[in-house]
Symmetry: C2
Subunit: 573 residues, 2 copies
């Protein structure tokens, strides 16, 4: 656990942001009037990502499985809340509101009282009883079937998801459970986003946020104007019954719960949870939200046309718009889904920080580590310096950034990574740069998907770990997209965004615009494109696009065949 | 320098084989009656491969440059000859003949007395004055022009080279010199294969072997039966003049010298060289030869239909045939070019051992080295064990083995490596296996190129470093090709083959068949294909072939564009 504190005190106007990421939870105590960040702490989940064996089991999990232990969320949360309270010397009465955000779509089955199914001895050996993490990627067949059926029936949800509902999302994961573990499906009283589950744990009420419902669970925007949330809806029984007979009543049986707006108060902290966290019972808790989404207001973005890139393990792209457009491969478009009063658009890249971390862990030779040591620097810094000295095109390399599948714009988890152009002279810093460039090209593809459909993008904003730590990446993104990029002032944008929602739930600000004016510091760092590099990148992007379409848009893509052969090899073991 | 010796003595019937490889020269003392290998030693060239800066210079060489220092050949040769003589306790009078083999096409410019131009102060800063090593790869534009002109004029040589004369070969390298360093071209009295140059150094006579002339320098097989070597010919003055005016008289001015058959005596050791090496003046020296080619008789292959794979830094495939056929991407077909009396076919893969060495040096993470250390094994052995435990298809990876360009069947140095199918779960042993598989698919492509044109292949033979040290590779080659593979008994096949040619030059055997009967021990190790794995590999090979054609057979291949952009980036520095 790491923690950091400021000396300033701002009694009685503090809000607590809890940011549940892929590997850890972070707490941030913020002054709701000034945005001053008083203390922060993070704690890694004990079980991390469960992708090889279930706890206590020796059986190897199938490839692409990514599960989590729900107990980790509570344990790590308790630790970080107590830590920031101590660090800021804050008392329970100082905390006016709590906001949370969570990775999504991360789903778990529970009993009626919210107890995770995987903690019951009967189910603990069944992978489907556990939390399926956003990057659990074994439900591509289910997503394909959902998309085929959806298209055949012209279901409205298809148009909200750029035509391709993802294998990462709620009903893909649920259908996988129905097919591969029907007993788990029957035994579960609820299937719920982990972000809604944590709110349920905090305030004892099952309240679901419209954001996760709309972006991940097919819940639909109104088709008539002035309709109220109560009139909006999930797809029909007929659709679900056609998808799988057991799913006919899935909404009524397993999901139905009050849907609430972002920043609304879901409830007050329960006495039990208040004791556990060392806070006051009844402290307002905001509606759950999605980690990347809360970063938008925390970047100071509350108006249309500003693309916010949350650069982390994966990258999320968020954009506000006055109108609803259908954009290829977008992850969703939801009215009031990011900031109330506007359409929220989401797109994303499934592997960014994860891709660089993979290369650092599995591709950097010992010789580079030794060189870095001799030079008194880190491996990362050595690579960064060497990669930064290259010109666009100089490595002769080009990559497709699909190590974790392709989210936008192709929305296909069966796609995989490609590295082209390697020679015997190729060196690690060149590969590293090619991987960064690949993610930049992927981002450009997303930008063009929006602008080609008339969704304006006038500014780029960046936040998240990579935005703070990786200047080369931001410069390459600026050069590849040809647009300046503003970096968020806060280093904890998600946790700050969660805290801003906590402030709204506590009634400390009238709306998100007002909260942003008070709580967000202006950006002080902007990366500007180099027009000469941009020209070379335009040519590399042409090649990227050819590879993208060749491998990503064809039904008989070698990537698909390889995935099939891998599955057969795994089954034949 | 390493050396090894046997205690047996076989006075007065010893022959010396000198195998000049890419990084070192190896000497082998062999009993010409029994094939017993009495002593061997190798010595690395002091300057190795010169690909970054010329000795004494700080100027960076352009990409794809690969040069050598001719002094290294003499220095290392002296060292190893003296070493094996001492190790075998042999006297000068014991050595009956000397045979050599050399990497090819490795070319240098010299004065009339054979002095390398690069050693003259005036020329030492010009890269084109140095030895251009076989893998010097910056003459693709020249090869393209040669092929275009050759095709337009329907030159006969085109048909000897599978339609594509390589950038690695004699006149591509020469044309590069003419274009980029015309003064070097004018100053050079001779341009000569290093393998012929070393023979010249040994016996003081400029004698050129028909093998290098035929396989690398467009020298043509007879078009009438019973023609004698004197009547065979290089292309016409008209052709060379059309290629470049300065080349009109290249044959008469820079090349013309007696061409002699393989195993023929080029001359006797000069007194000076005899003193230097500690041998007897006048000892017969055989005609020069190509490293891979001498391995054919050393595998016991002197008859048609047996494909010999010399698996080393690169792989050479050699095959004998009764007839001359035109096979796509073959490196050449020359009557008497490998074994007298038969047509010799050559094909090859430009990066094999080099590719694995690249991955070992630049792709294996420190964590694997640490694991290997903990397990008390080598990194190589750890990778090998883990890779061997995988089934075909299980890694989900597929590669194109073009890290050093593609020799057969596409004959294009501008092609480059490709790795497809990587995910965040991909691990180094999987990439390692995929690289081995890629070279196996490349070999299968070559086999099919021959058999589809009616050149029979009934057996596969393997020799060279990888054949001795890498059982996983041979098993994968057997599984991918569906054919058993016999491994040569000798660990020094090339040096043994060189020694066999020395024995012929000394008149110790009537012909190569007789030499092979006496000097080659039978194979004791055969790898047999697994039919189940073969079926999976058939499917992977289909995908390999699609990638092969998509990236290798299209004029606008992304690989070509990347190469172009890399050249531009380099020039803009």
């Amino acid at each position: 656990m790491q923690s950091r504190s400021h000396t300033a005190r701002s009694s009685n106007r503090l809000v607590l942001g809890l940011d549940f990421g892929t590997l850890s939870v972070r707490a941030l105590l913020v002054d709701a009037h000034t945005g001053a960040e008083l203390a922060t702490a993070s704690s890694n989940y004990s079980h991390g990502v469960i992708d090889e064996k279930l706890p206590g089991s020796t059986r190897r999990l199938s490839p692409e499985t990514a599960l989590q232990h729900p107990g980790d969320y509570l344990e790590s949360m308790t630790e970080v809340v107590r830590r920031v309270m101590r660090a800021a010397k804050a008392g329970p009465e100082d905390i006016r509101g709590i906001g949370t955000d969570f990775t999504s779509c991360t789903v778990l089955p529970t009993t009626t009282d919210g107890s995770p199914l995987c903690l019951a001895p009967r189910w603990r050996n069944n992978p489907h009883a556990w939390v399926k993490l956003w990057k659990h990627h074994s439900a591509q067949a289910e997503a394909d079937d959902i998309n085929t059926l959806g298209a055949r029936r012209s279901e409205l949800f298809c148009r909200s998801y750029g035509g391709r509902y993802s294998s990462e999302w709620f009903f893909s994961k649920l259908l996988e459970t129905v097919r591969h573990a029907p007993a788990v499906y029957r035994a579960a009283d609820r299937f719920i986003e982990a972000g809604d589950w944590i709110v349920w744990q905090l305030c004892g009420e099952e309240r679901r946020c419209i954001s996760a419902a709309g972006f991940k669970a097919m819940w639909l925007y109104p088709t008539r104007s002035k309709s109220t949330p109560a009139e909006w809806a999930y797809p029909s029984r007929t659709f679900f019954a056609a998808l799988h007979p057991a799913l006919a009543n899935v909404v009524e049986d397993k999901l139905d719960a009050p849907l609430i707006h972002l920043g609304a108060k879901a409830g007050g902290l329960t006495p039990g949870m208040a004791r556990r966290l060392g806070l006051r019972a009844g402290t307002p808790v905001s509606a759950g939200n999605i980690d990347a989404h809360v970063a938008v207001p925390a970047c100071g973005v509350t108006t249309p046309g500003k693309l916010v890139m949350i650069l982390g393990t994966s990258t999320c792209h968020l954009l506000l718009g006055e109108e609803r457009r259908e954009v290829e491969g977008m992850c969703g478009v939801v009215r009031d889904g990011v900031v109330n009063g506007l359409w929220g658009y989401e797109a994303g890249q499934a592997g960014v920080g994860d891709l660089f971390a993979w290369y650092m862990a599995h591709g950097i030779p010992a010789s580079i580590a030794a060189e870095a040591k001799r030079a008194g620097t880190s491996v990362y810094q050595l690579l960064e310096t060497r990669a930064a000295a290259l010109r666009p095109g100089e490595s002769g390399l080009l990559a497709l950034d699909w190590w974790n599948g392709c989210r936008s714009v192709l929305m296909d988890s069966d796609l995989s990574g490609l590295l082209l152009g390697a020679t015997l002279g190729t060196r690690p810093h060149e590969i590293y740069r090619a991987l960064i460039e690949a993610t930049a090209f992927g981002t450009r593809k997303i930008i063009e998907a929006f602008t080609s459909k008339g969704v304006a993008i006038t500014e780029l904003h960046a936040c998240g770990g990579l935005a703070q730590r990786n200047p080369l990446l931001l410069q390459i993104y600026a050069d590849v997209t040809g647009r300046p990029i503003r970096v968020a002032a806060s280093e904890q944008t998600c946790a700050l965004g969660a805290a801003m929602h906590g402030a709204l739930a506590a009634g400390l600000h009238a709306d998100m615009k007002a909260a942003a004016r008070r709580m967000v510091r202006p950006s002080t760092q902007t990366y500007r494109p180099n027009p000469i590099y941009k020209r070379t990148y335009d040519r590399l992007y042409t090649e990227y696009s050819r590879l993208h379409d060749h491998f990503g848009r064809t039904a008989d893509s070698p990537m698909k065949v390889l995935r099939q052969l891998r599955a057969e090899a795994f089954r034949s073991r």
